[in-house]
Structure formats: C-alpha cells, structure tokens
C-alpha cells in the first residue's frame, strides 16, 4: 500500500512537472543555444595567435551580461568570430577601441561588418533522426510482439510507450523550466534516455515473462 501511494505521488509529481513544462514552452518556447538561434556575428582579423580567454575578458567588458560565444577562425587561429544576440554600435566602438589598444590594430566601428546569422530550425536538427527512429521503433515493436506473444500486446506496448513518453516529456519539461540551452547534444541525450528507458522496460518485461 505504502509503495502504491508513493508511486501515485511520483506520478502526480511527474504530471505536474509536464504541465508546468508545457506552459513554459507554450509561453516562452525552448531556450535554444545562441549558435542555433538567429544572432549577430562579427569576424575580426588580429594577425597573431589569439588567446580566447584574453579575448573573453575584452568581450565581457564590452557586452556586460549579454551572452556571447567566441570562436577562433581561419587555419592559423589568427582571427576571431564573435557571436551575440545583438551587437549595437556602441558595443562595436568599445570593442574596436579595446582591440586596437590590445592588439595594435586600427579597427573603426563603421568598418566592422556585422552579419546576421539565421537560425537552425530544430526540425532540421531532428530530421536525420526521424527515419532511423521510425524504422527501429517498427522493428522493436515487431520483436516485442513476437517475444512476448503470450502477454496482452496492447497492454505491453501501451505501457512501454507511456513509460518512454512520460520520461521524455518530463525531461523536456525540466530542460524548458531550467532554460538549459537546447542543442544537438541535448537532443541526443534525450534519445539516450529513451533508449535506457526502453532497456529497463524490456528487462522488467523479460523478468516478469519468465
């Protein structure tokens, strides 16, 4: 009895989490990693090997609390690419001044070209997964129907689907609520969690079947 009520509490908590996550996604959407959503980018040639940490300090002074990502570009690592949600003219001027001071360059804000980088759609990140996941799911379903033929198939598949769906929904809700940036790695982690859930479900079914 005690276990049942614990399970009920857990289930209720899970459902509340999923509802909260759904509300957050509906209102604010998922927090997509800076490089994946639309942002502005500038590329600057420095002329010598760049210490990214040093440059990070400069950018922190210029951008303040604004999120930014630095990437070394070009084969010799002597150019830097700065990505931020938006880059204002004042920030450009401040950046130019600091770079000129630190690296003996002659940049002017009006000469620095700001490019708008469009977003990568989440559906484009998920697209490579669709075909293999559908084929795998079909084969796994077929395997389970054959392996556990003496069990109630609808109950078996229904429970399995519900378990995985609830886990994934809960995970997505946690990601949405905690504003973890969604990227290709996060999507793959969700896939791995689904796989683990499937293995555990299969293991338990094997145990009960035998």
């Amino acid at each position: 009895m005690k276990l049942d009520s614990l399970k009920k509490i857990l289930l209720l908590g899970l459902i509340l989490l999923i509802i909260a996550g759904t509300i957050v996604i509906a209102l604010k959407g998922l927090n997509v990693s800076l490089l994946f959503h639309e942002h502005e980018s500038i590329s600057l040639f420095i002329g010598k090997e760049i210490d990214v940490n040093e440059f990070k300090t400069i950018c922190k002074d210029v951008f303040g609390n604004k999120k930014f990502i630095l990437r070394k570009i070009e084969v010799f690592g002597d150019s830097i690419n700065i990505n931020a949600d938006s880059i204002t003219n004042e920030e450009l001027e401040a950046l130019a001044n600091k770079i000129n001071e630190k690296y003996n360059q002659e940049y002017k804000a009006e000469n620095i070209h700001v490019t708008t980088i469009p977003n990568i759609r989440i559906r484009d990140i998920i697209r490579p997964y669709i075909k293999p996941v559908i084929i795998s799911a079909a084969l796994i379903l077929a395997y389970m129907i054959i392996r556990f033929r003496k069990m109630n198939i609808l109950e078996l598949l229904g429970k399995g689907f519900l378990t995985i769906a609830l886990t994934e929904a809960a995970l997505l809700s946690v990601i949405a609520i905690t504003r973890i940036p969604v990227s290709a790695v996060v999507i793959n982690l969700m896939f791995v969690v689904a796989m683990i859930e499937l293995v555990i479900y299969n293991y338990k079914t094997e145990k009960n079947y035998n």
């Binding site: 590329s43 980088i117 795998s136 084969l139 290709a184 793959n188």
Partner: protein
C-alpha cells in the same frame, strides 16, 4: 603457490590493460627516418570536433540588358545570339532551310521573326529587356524554402553526411556549415549551380529543349583509342523524345546541289555554361542523348576520380533545378571549440571517473574485482582501437554512445561480482548476467544496426559505437566463459 600465480596473472592483466589504454588513446610511436611517427590510424572527427567551413551565400542581384526570344505567351525562349556565320571551331557555315538550301538571313528559320519586334504570325518575338538573375517575383518565402530543400537533397545524395543549413526567411540568405575536406568545392558547386539543362540552337540562341523533358541523367564511361571518356547521358520523356528526334534530323551536315556542305549546330548548356556544341550524324529515336564530358583520360585512376567528381552533375540534373541563384559572399574556417586544454580536462574527468568506479568495485568486492578492473580497461581500449581502424567518426553523439556502452559493461561487471559474492561460481554468474543483459538490450542492438546504415554522420556514429561496443562485450564475455 596457486595464490601467487593468481596474483601474477592479475598484475599482468592490469599492466596489459594500462598499456593497451595508452596505445589506444595516445598511439604507438616508432622511429622512422629519424622522426617518431604514430603507426596507428588517426581518429576521424566530426565537424564540431575537427573544425568546419561556414559559407555565406546571398541572392545574385546581377542584371543584364539583353535581347531575348519570347513565345506568344511571353515565356522566355532563349537569349538572342548575334547572327554568326562561324561554327564553334571558326569554320564558316550557313543556315539551311527545310529543303537544304542555304539562307542568307537565318531569321527566316525563326518562322518570321522580325527585327523591329512586331508580332507577325510567327511563334516567337524578340525583345530587349533587363534580365535579372533573380527576378523580384521569384523572391518569395516559398521559393526560399524550396531552394533550401533542393540544396539539402543535393547534399544528402552526394554523401555530404554532415552539414548545417540556415536560411534567412526575409532576405533568402543562406549560411551553410560544411566539413572542411576535399569535397568543399563540390559542395559549393551544388549550392550555386541552379541546374537548368537546355539544348539550344547554336546559331540563334533559341531554346529547343529544356530540362522539363529530362527524365533522368547518368554519368557513363567508355574507353577508346584516346583513353577513358566520361559521358553525360540524358534520357527524355515521350514529348522530349519526339522533339529530340526532330532536332537530330534538323541539326546536321547537309550537302546541297552544288556539293557544298553546310552544318547546323546545337549547344547543350548547363545554366550559362556550354557543355558541348555539336551536330547530329544519325536520327535519335530512343530519347537518349550522350554528351562527352571533359577530355579523354589515359590514367584509369585519374579517370575514376574524374567520373566520381562528375557524378554531381547528374545529381543536379536529376533533382529539381534551383528557383533562385546564389553567389558565395564569404567563407570562414571555424576552428573547433574543443582546444587542447578542454580535451585535457575531459580526459582527466574520464580517467578519474573510471578510477572512481574501479575503486568502488575493489572496495565492495575486494580482490575479485581487480580482474574486472583490468577487463574494463581492456574493453575501453579495444573500443578506442576499433574506432581508429574502422574510421568511426568521433562526434559528440558518438562520445555519448561510447560512455553508454562503457556504463553497460561496468553494470554487467557489478552484477557478476554481486553474484560471485553471494556464492555463485564466476562462470555461472557471467553466463546468467550476460544472458539477462543481452535479452534486455536487444532493442539497443536493433537501433545500432539500423543507425549504422544511415548516411548522416550524426546518426551513423551512434550506431557504429553501439554496434562495436555490443560486439566487443559479447566477444570478451564469450572468451571469459570459455
């Protein structure tokens, strides 16, 4: 004595395991010609870990004033060529009418087109107009989306198994991230080549047959006395076959009553480039046109490489042509964000994690666990070596799969040690737990096999790591059982 032998065996296993780990992750170095060289194949890395090219493409805004042919409905039917009495090799030719008689004014062949643009009973008119590379009416969100999809299809077909594509829905600009390898220029060609193939009248410039009638295309090869020749083969639909037959009858060498030979030519164009200018010897009734592509090559390997590179052409022609034309505006090489320091931190974290797990194993299960610690290290190093030799692409996804199979392996060891501690024999414990584990992970095995065959590196790398991890787990366990 027996205890000493067991201790020695265990120490040897641990030493072999540590050595294998060093070889697998660091490499095996031998001195060759005075330089220490790693004789093991290098790891292959995905885009995010090896660096990639970020290509920016913008819509081509060029425009040109030129004279064009238009049909009665105002559809574009080709660029008016300056009337020429020379063929592509500079030999003087003249146009002929249906009776084979030379005509002075080639425009007579155009069914009554007049220079002042007035419409007669003719099928076509000439008009001077400003032709834009991308007309305003084509710059729509639908066309932007269509262009993106066609580019994605082209990249997928040519085994560009890793790329990211971004599009600005307002300006149509594209930012495409491609691996920095020998196929980069090919990738660029796939994006900037609209892919419209046309057969035009070489003399006048009028379009005789366009790609709407092309059913399929292929790259073929044949050998002749000059070497190996690549051909572009075009197959046309029913209507295209009839048009091609008429063209092959019209554009050929004709001998007039005076015994003078006159030849009329066609050009096969891909967008604005001429693939070939030629004429026909025989009537073509099967709807298939074979065009020599490139020069004949005497070296077989060179020819194979050329034919492989040329396959992009048939890929482009077989798919839809791009509704919009793009030009490359900038090209940056983006270094990997994983620098030496980050790599070192990750390696340290991984090593510490394995050490902690091993220590926990030894603390709980004492001396019996030491062999399993060694086995665990051997397992990890063998997977790493397999990745080197089977060209498994190391991506973030592959690393997650790598950690998953290692976790599975250690889970098995903990279960076996638990059973051994409770009194079961080692072999029996191994057999029971191995059976349970493999029955439980059959879905994972199915996923691994399916994922291996996917073209996307992001997916296939997961499949490869899972596959080799499971195969190695089975093999090593079977060896232990025997």
């Amino acid at each position: 004595m027996e205890k000493k032998v067991r201790v020695v065996k265990t120490i040897v296993i641990i030493l072999v395991a540590v050595l294998l780990c060093l070889i697998a992750f660091v490499g095996l170095f031998v001195k060759r010609y005075g330089i220490w060289t790693n004789i093991l194949p290098d790891y292959q890395y995905g885009m995010e870990l090896s660096g990639f090219r970020e290509l920016h493409f913008v819509l081509d805004n060029s425009e040109e004033e030129k004279e064009v042919f238009l049909d009665k409905n105002g559809n574009y039917m080709g660029d008016v060529k300056e009337t020429s009495t020379s063929d592509s090799s500079g030999v003087s030719v003249s146009m002929v009418d249906e009776n084979g008689e030379a005509v002075e004014n080639p425009e007579e062949l155009l069914n009554g087109v007049t220079d002042d643009g007035t419409e007669t009973e003719s099928e076509f008119i000439k008009e001077k107009r400003t032709v834009k590379a991308n007309p305003d009416e084509l710059r729509t969100i639908n066309n932007f989306e269509k262009t993106k999809q066609i580019i994605q299809n082209r990249l997928n077909k040519i085994d560009f198994n890793e790329y990211n594509i971004r599009q600005n829905n307002i300006t149509g600009e594209l930012v495409i991230e491609l691996p920095d390898n020998e196929n980069l220029s090919l990738g660029e060609a796939l994006i900037t080549t609209p892919g419209k193939i046309t057969i035009i009248d070489y003399q006048t410039g009028m379009i005789l047959l366009d790609d709407s009638h092309v059913k399929s295309s292929n790259i073929l090869g044949a050998s002749n006395e000059n070497g190996y020749q690549t051909y572009l083969q075009l197959k046309f639909d029913k209507e295209g076959t009839n048009i091609l037959r008429d063209i092959s009858n019209k554009y050929r060498t004709v001998v007039d009553e005076a015994g003078e030979e006159t030849t009329t030519y066609i050009s096969v164009n891909l967008d604005e480039s001429t693939l070939i200018s030629t004429y026909f010897g025989d009537e073509i009734t099967n709807g298939t046109l074979q065009i020599p592509y490139g020069q004949a090559i005497t070296d077989y390997n060179e020819y194979i490489a050329f034919a492989e590179n040329s396959s992009y052409l048939s890929n482009v022609i077989n798919g839809d042509s791009l509704p919009l034309k793009y030009t490359l505006s900038s090209d940056n090489y983006i270094n990997t964000s994983v620098n030496t320091k980050t790599l070192l931190i990750v390696e340290i974290i991984f090593t510490v994690a394995i050490l902690v797990v091993s220590l926990i194993m030894i603390i709980i299960y004492r001396l019996e666990a030491i062999k399993f610690v060694g086995a665990g290290l051997i397992y990890i190093s063998l997977i790493a070596l397999i990745c080197r030799y089977t060209n498994v692409a190391i991506t973030y996804n592959a690393l997650i799969a790598f950690v998953s199979v290692i976790a599975m392996n250690y889970y098995l060891y903990f279960k076996i040690l638990k059973d051994i501690k409770s009194g079961k024999g080692a072999k029996e414990a191994l057999k029971t737990n191995l059976t349970k584990l493999f029955l439980a992970i059959i879905p994972v095995a199915i996923i691994a096999v399916i994922f291996i065959f996917m073209s996307s590196i992001v997916i296939s790398s997961i499949g490869m790591l899972l596959f080799w991890g499971l195969v190695l787990l089975a093999l090593l366990s079977l060896i232990a059982l025997v």
